[in-house]
């Protein structure tokens, strides 16, 4: 009997010694996200994933979140909204992740937001730029980048300052590009410009000859193309083929990827592009982010990578301030939060809609992106006007 008591006492003492260790080795915080790793959005989607990965590395190197490490669970939604919906259901109900982060693109976020709302999960969505997603009374979704409507503000602003009068707007007929085309047409009208041509084309269109022939006949000073990536490349090439010239030509998405210049070479010169972020903007912590990204992945980050990273950092900050993963408490912090990161400013209105972050415009000059707008962030002057194709 005494031996038995001794054993119990010894075991109890042993357990008491060991007990603090499991506290340190708590299970990691599982964060789920599905991204477009194949299909039309594969290029930007993969950059976003790298942003998430680097953020997890950095947070973990600094001791994690609430004393726990972060661990991402990734899936590939193949650029399809329906697949995204299925994967977020799976992440939340089967994988039982502690938190979720947004997917790539507006159409997929729009679909997936219904799932995160249903399970009342906060979802910071760093790469959804369509205003309507955030204006449907959803409670748990938060926006990081500037809205679609603002993408080409800079192009119109620069054009109006130079006294240009006419603009042509073309766009892919999907959620984000449509919103951005509407936005650019509106701001152009506000600034006293005339929209002389406006037309949409279906997703996946490859032949723009007739569209561009019509556009050429309208003879606009400025061409604003609300594109993703494949179409931005095809339109630029076919503009040259059909000898379509304008004093300024700008695109929304795609123009900022290094691949755009790789594919078009000197034909990308003078093209204006909109971007949410560039590696050389004067924001705090910029160099550390760019250097560590370059070191981990062997290539430079683009704004999709930076937005992914920034979204994850912002979520982390809110959790830290809330001191818990509880959705409603984190949500309160995200609504209150006002911060400037290497990605620029973050502040949302009561709907989680971004109001502080600024877009920038760059122009391809000698194979480099030179920031030309707004003036307080610019590091160069635009080469204006764009010469005819035969003189480039």
């Amino acid at each position: 009997m005494t031996t038995f008591l001794w054993r119990v006492a010894a075991t109890a003492a042993f357990v008491a010694i060991l007990a603090p260790i499991p506290v340190h080795a708590q299970a990691p915080i599982k964060v789920g996200a599905s991204l477009s790793l194949t299909g039309t959005y594969a290029q930007p989607g993969s950059y976003q994933k790298e942003g998430y990965e680097l953020c997890a590395d950095h947070v973990n190197a600094k001791g994690g979140l609430l004393g726990r490490k972060i661990e991402f669970v990734f899936y590939d939604d193949q650029s399809m909204p329906a697949t995204g919906v299925r994967l977020y259901e799976k992440l939340i109900t089967e994988d039982k992740v502690d938190a979720v982060m947004g997917p790539y693109s507006s159409p997929i976020t729009e679909a997936v937001a219904n799932v995160s709302e249903k399970y009342q999960k906060v979802m910071v969505s760093p790469l959804a730029a369509t205003t309507s997603i955030f204006k449907k009374g959803r409670k748990y979704i938060f926006m990081v980048i500037s809205p679609a409507e603002a993408y080409l503000d800079g192009l119109v602003d620069m054009a109006a300052k130079r006294g240009l009068k006419t603009i042509a707007v073309i766009n892919e007929d999907t959620l984000f590009t449509k919103a951005s085309a509407v936005g650019v047409a509106e701001i152009a009208k506000k600034k006293g410009m005339q929209v002389v041509f406006q037309e949409a084309y279906p997703k996946g269109n490859t032949d723009f000859s007739a569209l561009l022939t019509k556009l050429k006949a309208a003879n606009p000073d400025v061409i604003a193309a609300s594109t993703y990536f494949d179409d931005a490349v095809a339109i630029t090439r076919q503009m040259k083929e059909l000898n379509v010239n304008a004093k300024m030509y700008g695109v929304t998405v795609g123009g900022d990827l290094p691949k755009f210049y790789e594919l078009l070479k000197q034909n990308a010169e003078y093209v204006y592009g909109a971007t949410q972020w560039e590696g050389n903007l004067p924001y705090p912590g910029q160099k550390e982010f760019v250097d560590s990204y370059q070191k981990k992945f062997g290539h430079e980050p683009v704004y999709h990578s930076a937005a992914g990273y920034a979204g994850c950092v912002i979520y982390g900050e809110a959790v830290k301030r809330a001191g818990t993963l509880d959705s409603d408490k984190v949500r309160d912090q995200l609504l209150k939060l006002e911060t400037r990161t290497f990605f620029g400013d973050y502040k949302v209105d009561g709907d989680g809609f971004q109001v502080a972050h600024k877009m920038v415009m760059f122009q391809w000059q000698d194979g480099k992106k030179v920031t030309v707008w707004p003036d307080d962030l610019a590091n160069g002057k635009p080469r204006y006007p764009t010469p005819g194709w035969s003189q480039r």
Binding site: P202, L264, S390
Partner: protein, 284 residues
């Protein structure tokens, strides 16, 4: 403006005609609808891209490589797979070739990723008065005309060509006359694949290359041979030009969003009113 659009339409149409001739050939000879025709075109485009990328080979010279290479691929496909389904109900060959097409696209995706590639060789245009003639499209059109003319000469004048036409008119009679039908089937598949490859090599200079670029050409070719009359080889030429024009003109007068719809409405109308094609195809 209409003039410019007609030019764009005819330039595109000549290329459609050449690619569709391949699909028409297989359909005529074997009564098999090769839904893997577009993916074969995509392989031709990649051949041109890699030769240009690695060796700086002129993309137009690369036709000399891509056409024979895809001829061999076509012959092998026929020997290994298609041969087994020629006389089976249509569904078997459709399913088989759908499978082949998907496999080709996915293998390419694995091997070369889905990154866009381009052959930045000839950009810009010849400007003549108010009209712009895209350099790469004019040259593609010229090649397409030469290759299509060559194919017609081959079908009309050579013994082998006559044998091909004989098999497509009546396999039994051709066989009785001493034509080796198995061999003709194999060659037809090879020639058709070479035509698709030529299309791919020419398209490679015009648009960005990616594994899924071919599918759209399968559908366009299908439209062309229905318009032209299945089994009627010169009909493919007219059908191709017609499709090019319809696409461009509907984009001009309506919007770019409906041009494909217009083409398919035309297809349905032709099937309803003249099921043998605008130019009487082979009666079946």
């Amino acid at each position: 403006m209409v003039g410019q659009v007609v030019i764009s339409g005819l330039l595109a149409g000549a290329l459609y005609a050449m690619v569709a001739l391949g699909l028409g050939l297989i359909f005529g000879v074997m009564r098999v609808l090769n839904v893997a025709h577009g993916p074969l075109l995509m392989l031709g485009a990649y051949t041109t891209f890699w030769l240009f990328h690695w060796f700086g080979l002129n993309p137009y010279l690369s036709l000399l490589v891509s056409m024979p290479a895809l001829f061999v691929v076509g012959v092998v496909l026929q020997r290994l797979l298609v041969r087994r389904v020629v006389d089976a109900p249509e569904l078997s060959s459709l399913l088989l070739l759908f499978g082949v097409g998907i496999a080709l696209v996915n293998v390419t995706q694995l091997a070369f990723t889905s990154d866009l590639r381009s052959v930045e060789y000839l950009t810009g245009s010849f400007v003549w008065g108010p009209f712009a003639f895209s350099k790469s499209r004019v040259i593609a059109c010229a090649f397409a005309i030469v290759i299509t003319a060559g194919a017609f000469w081959f079908l009309q004048k050579t013994r082998l060509g006559k044998a091909l036409r004989a098999v497509s008119q009546s396999r039994e009679v051709a066989q009785v006359c001493g034509v080796n039908v198995q061999r003709i089937h194999m060659l037809a598949f090879g020639f058709a694949s070479a035509l698709a490859a030529a299309g791919g090599s020419l398209v490679a200079v015009m648009v960005a290359i990616q594994p899924e670029m071919g599918q759209v050409y399968t559908f366009k070719s299908f439209l062309v041979i229905v318009l032209g009359g299945a089994g009627n080889y010169p009909g493919a030429l007219v059908g191709g030009l017609l499709l090019g024009l319809v696409e461009q003109l509907s984009s001009l007068f309506l919007t770019t969003q409906v041009n494909e719809a217009v083409a398919y409405v035309l297809l349905v109308l032709v099937l309803l009113v003249r099921p043998t094609g605008l130019f009487k195809g082979r009666a079946s």
